[in-house]
């Protein structure tokens, strides 16, 4: 497979996005174009990319070490050159495969979900752009090119979260996502600038960075690593920059699925894995990352326990699961973190798409306490959601079990018992809040008698595919006790980090403990919610329900400070200083003009007299000056 096709993995969705955008403009201004045309084009693009990705996957499997394609110089200043470069190594092709696979399924699902929407073509244009940006992010061969994708992903999330822009709340959510990402991106940019300052002269693609990273002093590496991680916090929604993710639910549900499963939030984990040569040198920062991940996991899980909006619960569960991934990558177990990214993509996409199906079926009802008794009425959704819930709760043999268990094992083996404890406790909480959602939605006394909206095949088919993924994708990373070849670790050999030896009996004990934690969570949820009676009033309130008042705290600490600073600038500096200076200048000119204007008496003879005086004095000057 020629490395030339690497660029086309990104270009196909990008061209498709542009084409769809133009077609949409044509559709709304000249002649209406059928939704089917948009959907067909939009779905084709990620599928083609996926096929190219498979081609590269086979190439790598058959012994190619990596593909590099550098079509042109993106930026050249004197002898310093940044190539527009694509790098297809095992890590990036691994990312490409599941991004395009799950992206394609979400596209198919969205074709049914968005049916009849006015912005159908626009939606798919953004969607393809989102996939293209994410692919650029993972395929870039230098941090600068990665940053293009990094920023485009932020842009696309903004466009899609605020997709229903007629509602001001959605616009606010879009802005919030954009601003929180901006804060993170600033950190990322600072990290890049530092990195460039120290090693940029020697080349700035990953291989050069890896080669020359040793010449950077250690304390600078700590700054770089922390600054880059701030970027990851923003993109991957970790404490304290997670606030945008729950609000990002304002967008259509396929957008949530795309952001949470295939794109965007995994960017941070990918970035840390990509810079593994840097983080390997600074284990203290790695530990910091792991702790941030652990606390994010716990914090989000606690909040998720009390939420009532189905999509909000899933959003917090994403933050929580991302926390697990950061525990893994922070401790240097990059392949384990990426394994969890992989399995999480399946079950989280499935959860969101299942939730979207429920929301559509119930005519855009999102409060789980107004659902109830859906098991008999939506049997297919019931089954796939059950699979997804078991997967996220870590019940074997579903996908989430293997990856989460491996993360916990790694944490324990690194002697980070606090992280292990938090992770285990969070696993129980996860099982609890996911099954709370599940029981309240599907069991309980039948609450809603509303007629259900029928679901189209394009919404159901991806669910089934993903359900298989959520059930079986865990088998690519079997622990040693079951199999000697851990496919993920073999594939991502360079990223497996410090190898850990665990005896078989230890692995079994750890698995048993995890499963027990998950089962306890499920049991508590069963007792409390299996026969949930919807007639009783739901008590809303309390510190957890209000998300620990973090939004209010940020509002108080930052938003209001910035606002009063803005007011100060607007009133005191702008009105008082700048306007005053400018106005007094212009008033001065006006007064001067008035005075000069008096000389314009329209008396021609006076003008002639002035001229005479002027000419005479000038002549005299010349005579006496030059006559000497």
């Amino acid at each position: 497979m020629s490395s030339y096709f690497l660029a086309w993995i990104v270009l196909i969705p990008l061209i498709s996005a542009a084409f769809l955008g133009i077609l949409y403009l044509y559709s709304i201004t000249v002649k209406k174009i059928s939704d089917k045309v948009f959907a067909t084009i939009a779905i084709t693009a990620p599928i083609l990319s996926f096929m190219l990705g498979v081609g590269f996957f086979l190439g790598l499997k058959n012994g190619a070490s990596e593909y590099i394609y550098e079509p042109y110089i993106w930026l050249g200043v004197n002898d310093y050159i940044i190539n527009m470069g694509f790098l297809g190594d095992k890590l990036s092709i691994f990312m490409v495969l599941f991004i395009t696979f799950i992206g394609s399924l979400i596209h198919i699902y969205a074709a049914g979900y968005m049916k009849g929407d006015d912005g159908y073509g626009k939606f798919f244009s953004y969607f393809n752009l989102f996939v293209a940006s994410m692919l650029l992010l993972v395929l870039a061969n230098s941090p600068i090119i990665m940053f293009i994708g990094w920023e485009s992903v932020g842009l696309c999330s903004y466009l899609l979260i605020g997709f229903y822009f007629t509602d001001p709340l959605n616009v606010v959510a879009g802005n919030k996502a954009f601003i929180a990402n901006r804060v993170g991106d600033l950190g990322f940019l600072i990290g890049l600038v530092y990195l460039f300052f120290y090693v940029g002269k020697l080349g700035f693609d990953y291989s050069a960075l890896e080669q020359y990273i040793d010449i950077v002093p250690n304390h600078i590496l700590v700054i770089i690593g922390s600054a880059l991680f701030v970027g990851a916090m923003g993109k991957s929604a970790q404490i304290p920059l997670y606030v945008w993710l729950p609000d990002a639910m304002a967008g259509p549900t396929p957008v949530s699925a795309l952001i949470h499963a295939a794109t965007m939030v995994t960017a941070g984990v990918y970035m840390v894995a990509r810079f593994h040569f840097l983080y390997d040198l600074i284990p203290n920062v790695g530990l910091f990352i792991a702790y941030i991940g652990a606390f994010s996991a716990l914090f989000a899980a606690v909040i998720a326990m009390k939420q009532s909006d189905i999509k909000k619960i899933l959003a917090y569960s994403t933050i929580s699961q991302l926390g697990y991934m950061f525990i893994a990558v922070g401790l240097g177990a990059y392949s384990t973190g990426l394994f969890h990214v992989f399995t999480h993509a399946f079950f989280k996409a499935l959860l969101f798409m299942g939730a979207g199906a429920i929301i559509i079926a119930l005519h855009h009802e999102q409060n789980i306490f107004k659902m109830g008794g859906l098991r008999k009425r939506l049997p297919l959704i019931y089954i796939v959601m059950l699979v997804a819930n078991l997967a996220i709760s870590g019940i074997p043999p579903f996908a989430g079990f293997f990856s989460k268990d491996e993360i916990l094992l790694k944490a324990y083996k690194h002697h980070e018992y606090l992280i292990y404890g938090i992770g285990l406790f969070t696993a129980a909480l996860t099982a609890y809040y996911m099954f709370r959602l599940f029981f309240v939605t599907f069991e309980g006394k039948n609450y809603t008698e509303k007629k259900l909206e029928p679901l189209s095949w394009s919404m159901k088919a991806p669910l089934v595919v993903l359900a298989f993924g959520a059930a079986f994708s865990g088998f690519v990373g079997l622990p040693k006790v079951f199999s000697n070849t851990n496919l993920i670790d073999t594939w991502l050999g360079n990223w497996s980090g410090v190898s850990i030896h665990a005896e078989h009996y230890e692995e079994i004990i750890f698995m048993g403990v995890s499963v027990i934690a998950g089962l306890i969570g499920i049991a508590v949820a069963y007792v409390k919610f299996f026969k949930y009676d919807f007639s009783q009033e739901l008590k809303e309130g309390g510190i957890v329900y209000n998300k620990f008042y973090i939004d209010e705290l940020i509002d108080f600490l930052i938003v209001r400070r910035v606002r009063s600073l803005s007011t100060f600038i607007s009133v005191v500096i702008d009105d008082g200083v700048i306007d005053k200076t400018v106005m007094s200048l212009s008033n001065g000119f006006i007064n001067l003009g008035r005075r000069v204007g008096r000389m314009q008496s329209a008396n021609t003879r006076m003008y002639a007299f002035f001229m005479l005086i002027g000419l005479s004095s000038f002549s005299l000057y010349l005579i006496f000056k030059l006559g000497q």
């Binding site: 314009q600 008396n603 002639a608």
Partner: protein, 106 residues
């Protein structure tokens, strides 16, 4: 023939020029002002010719001829302007043409 000194030509030119200036400054009639302007022009011509003769160089005379030619063309423009000005206001008093005067305050 009486020999006329060089300085007396210059003196004549200065007198003519001063008369022209006084005419431009003190008269109201546009025609008189124009005639005064021509007078100033010609006094300069006189100086040019005189100096040319005095220094034995023909440049000054050539310039004088050119000035006369251009003054003729200018006269045509000037006179037609005066005619159109007269049609506009039925006056050849320079003080009546004060459209560009600043009126009141800004």
């Amino acid at each position: 023939m009486m020999e006329v000194s060089f300085m007396s030509y210059i003196l004549l030119a200065i007198i003519l020029f001063s008369m022209g200036i006084m005419g431009v400054i003190s008269r109201k009639n546009i025609f008189i002002i124009y005639m005064s302007l021509e007078l100033m022009l010609n006094s300069i011509n006189l100086i040019l010719v005189t100096l040319s003769k005095h220094f034995g160089n023909m440049d000054g005379q050539i310039i004088a001829m050119m000035v006369i030619a251009i003054a003729a063309a200018e006269a045509a423009v000037f006179l037609s302007l005066i005619v159109s000005l007269y049609r506009l206001k039925h006056s050849i008093n320079i003080d009546d043409y004060n459209t560009l005067k600043q009126k009141g305050t800004l």
